[in-house]
């Protein structure tokens, strides 16, 4: 039997480094899950759901709902080929907070004024930023939120920053076009948005982007930044880009990162 750690303190406390999910009591480990199995409804299906729950570490698990999918406008759907389940139960896993690697932002969050000042005094020229959605992705709202004046979550977008020279190429830009534009404009940073993720389109497109820039410009390639709601910020290295931003990113975070990555350290005065 795995240690369920019943006697340890898993409550919300500054110091606790090992926690468990909380249903209605500290340490109870309770979670909810739902999924579909390609099995007709019935006891065998419920058993299969319990097996999966167990493999997920939910024990004891309760199949609290199971219903056939897609046969005849109503109730059980006995002739269905799929069954949808809702399962509740306690997971035995412990969450070790010390092992959580948060990409602690290794740079300070700057105000627009500070960003402008840093660029102006330390870079001594304006910073050229190019934005686009690549591939067939037509979702521009995210990149617009970062770049456009209007901004996002109450913060102005990068166009508002005096010392940033921003061009937003919009959607459906092909990678070769983008490489071309980056070269032509001497971009310091290329910001790319990817929202469609089905079949990992965003990952594929990002890798293609990184490859094309590497090939075309080698070491002298601009800083590559990608963003979108389904990216895991920890994946930058894996994808071959410099930085990945996820859901809820604000323009200020991006501007601060650009300063950190592209503007030389303050010289000791």
């Amino acid at each position: 039997m795995p240690d369920k750690g019943q006697n340890r303190d898993f409550g919300p406390s500054e110091g606790a480094s090992v926690v468990r999910p909380y249903g209605d009591t500290t340490g109870d480990g309770m979670v909810q899950t739902s999924f579909t199995l390609p099995v007709p409804p019935g006891p065998r299906a419920d058993g299969a759901a319990l097996q999966l729950a167990q493999k997920m570490g939910i024990e004891p698990a309760m199949v609290v709902h199971s219903a056939g999918i897609g046969s005849g406008g109503g109730a059980a759907g006995d002739s269905a080929a799929f069954t949808f389940f809702v399962v509740y139960g306690s997971v035995r896993h412990l969450v070790d907070l010390d092992a959580v690697h948060v990409e602690e932002r290794p740079y300070p969050l700057l105000s627009p004024g500070e960003v402008n000042a840093a660029v102006k005094t330390r870079l001594r020229r304006s910073l050229v930023v190019l934005g686009a959605c690549i591939g067939t992705d037509a979702h521009t709202v995210g990149i617009d939120a970062i770049l456009n004046l209007k901004g996002f979550a109450g913060e102005k977008g990068l166009e508002y920053y005096r010392e940033l020279q921003v061009a937003n190429l919009g959607a459906q830009v092909s990678v070769p076009e983008l490489v071309h534009a980056a070269r032509a404009r001497k971009a310091d940073a290329v910001l790319v948005s990817q929202v469609v993720t089905q079949r990992d389109a965003h990952l594929r497109n990002t890798r293609e982007l990184a490859g094309a820039f590497r090939e075309a410009m080698g070491e002298s390639r601009p800083l590559l930044v990608v963003g979108g709601p389904r990216f895991d910020p920890a994946m930058a290295a894996d994808l071959g880009v410099d930085k990945v931003f996820g859901r809820g990113t604000t323009p200020g975070e991006v501007a601060s990162y650009l300063v950190h990555a592209l503007v030389p350290e303050e010289e000791p005065s």
Partner: protein, 525 residues
């Protein structure tokens, strides 16, 4: 059904202004043809298949032939004259296409009697395609008579989007069994920018499945089976908007699709397709849909994903009025106008639900005979799927309270993934509960004249008329309004965007048998 008392003088004024604002777009179609219109003509005449020899992907014969004609004699006369002239010496379209593939076809523009002969042959060939469309329309009516229509309004409209037609089919059937009245197969993200229509059964789309004639056929057949099983005719929808509007419209007619997303504005604003190109394409595609008895869906709902649904509510109204005008002009009847609108107000806005009701009632009041397409919340959906499920329930309720015609079923996972099998099932259960438990609540729903809802609807209508005044005042009308960023706060200039090189000014002797045959029909109607 509770209706708003709209100021009828204002409504009449709105329609008059819409006609003026749309006029420059109507002119476009009279002046230009496009590669896609010409290809659509060949498709109507029965040309199918792809050049099998090409290395990087297959290119449809219709593209090969139109490109060859363009290269050799230009497109300003249309493809029909040179093509049927070339066929005059015998052989099939298919043979001719293969000669094009082999580089041996030679096109010229016939004149005089030769031209008359070519025109006659072209009319006959294209007429056969139109006859097939007519037969499909009749067949649909027959099937509806046999199996029956959905028992109530709104019709329940569900999307499938696996990217793989062979996954789509069982999912669509499951959805129909669970209560869907209309199945829409959405397209792979890239397709609307392709300047050709892919061929065959496909399994490799991203976030959608390619629209191909074979996929249409497979899905329609599957839905025919399930219609028979259920005793209810299940409709099929796909997307025409994009660079190949006219061709896909034809394929839809040939394969008995029942509804089509058909809106140039969507392509312009959200796909950056050139306005001239797609307005010309739209005219042709709508004529085909008018003939085919297909209901079109327009895309005003999309504006509210980039623009604020309260501030810009009137732009939806303006666009609906313009789309109505452009649809009527192409021969569509009111029952074919699935004008789009959506439940996209930020749920955190106070009174958001009543604002939605006001907007939805306004559309209902302006277009009493159109089967309005009511779109679910998307923009303000989040990963909180419980909240999403609740919002969708209120969306469903708004649809029932305001008498919408087509209810696009919202998915709790909207902000997460393309819909899962279980999402659709849960979503349908949501719709069923709301319609069965509260579907008749409209009997008790009586917005007070001068009350919150009435005032809001009137405000939006007034703003819409004011905006139409400004648009109609400009000689370029709608085209200028698009350039100004009026819709979806997105600016698109008339000479920007994709597909402009496929637009050709018609010569005086331009001949297009399809338009001719379809127009004859329209003016008869």
């Amino acid at each position: 059904m509770s209706r708003l008392q709209l100021d009828q003088a204002l409504v009449a004024r709105a329609r008059e202004l819409a006609a003026r604002a749309a006029a420059p777009v109507v002119d476009l179609a009279a002046t230009y043809t496009t590669v896609s219109v010409e290809r659509a003509t060949l498709r109507l005449a029965g040309l199918t298949g792809t050049d099998p020899l090409d290395g990087d992907g297959e290119v449809p014969w219709v593209n090969r032939v139109v490109d060859a004609v363009r290269d050799q004699v230009g497109l300003e006369h249309g493809v029909a004259l040179p093509v049927w002239h070339a066929l005059g010496s015998g052989g099939t379209l298919q043979d001719l296409a293969e000669q094009v593939g082999a580089g041996t076809a030679r096109f010229t523009v016939p004149e005089g009697a030769a031209a008359d002969r070519a025109r006659e042959a072209a009319r006959a060939a294209v007429g056969a395609g139109i006859a097939r469309i007519d037969a499909n329309r009749a067949r649909r009516e027959e099937l509806v008579a046999t199996h029956g229509d959905p028992p109530r309004r709104p019709w329940i409209y569900l999307i499938v989007a696996t990217g793989d037609i062979h996954e789509d089919i069982p999912q669509a059937q499951a959805a129909a069994r669970a209560g869907a009245d209309v199945i829409a197969v959405i397209r792979s993200t890239g397709q609307s920018l392709l300047d050709y229509v892919p061929e065959g059964a496909t399994r490799t789309g991203y976030a959608g499945t390619y629209a191909t004639q074979e996929n249409f056929r497979l899905m329609r057949a599957a839905l025919d089976d399930v219609s028979a099983e259920l005793g209810r005719y299940v409709r099929l929808t796909n997307y025409a908007s994009g660079l190949c509007m006219p061709e896909i419209a034809v394929l839809a007619g040939l394969e008995r699709l029942d509804m089509m997303l058909n809106d140039a504005m969507y392509g312009i604003l959200f796909r950056d397709i050139n306005p001239h190109r797609t307005f010309v394409d739209q005219r042709f595609s709508r004529m085909v849909h008018a003939r085919a008895g297909i209901i079109i869906n327009t895309g005003e709902d999309n504006y509210l994903t980039t623009a604020d649904a309260v501030d810009e509510a009137h732009t939806v109204t303006v666009s609906q009025l313009l789309n109505e005008r452009l649809a009527h002009e192409a021969g569509l009847e009111d029952w074919q106008l699935g004008l789009g609108h959506a439940f996209e107000i930020d749920p955190a806005v106070p009174e958001s639900f009543r604002l939605e009701l006001a907007h939805a009632l306004l559309a209902r009041g302006l277009f009493p005979d159109a089967p309005l397409k009511w779109m679910p919340p998307t923009k303000h959906m989040t990963g909180d799927v419980f909240r999403g499920y609740l919002l969708d329930g209120f969306f469903n309720l708004a649809g029932a309270l305001t008498g919408q015609g087509i209810l696009l079923v919202g998915m709790m996972t909207e902000a997460v993934v393309t819909p899962w099998l279980s999402d659709r099932d849960l979503a349908l259960r949501n719709v069923r509960y709301v319609l069965e438990a509260a579907g008749n609540l409209h009997e008790d729903f009586a917005p007070q004249p001068g009350g919150f809802i009435d005032r809001r609807a009137h405000t939006v209508l007034t703003e819409a008329v004011e905006l139409l005044e400004r648009i109609a005042a400009h000689p370029q009308g709608l085209i200028q309004a698009i350039a100004d960023g009026t819709f979806g706060i997105t600016k698109r200039s008339p000479d920007g965007g994709k597909g402009l090189d496929g637009v050709v000014r018609k010569a005086a002797d331009h001949f297009d048998p399809a338009t001719e045959l379809l127009t004859r029909e329209v003016s008869r109607a």
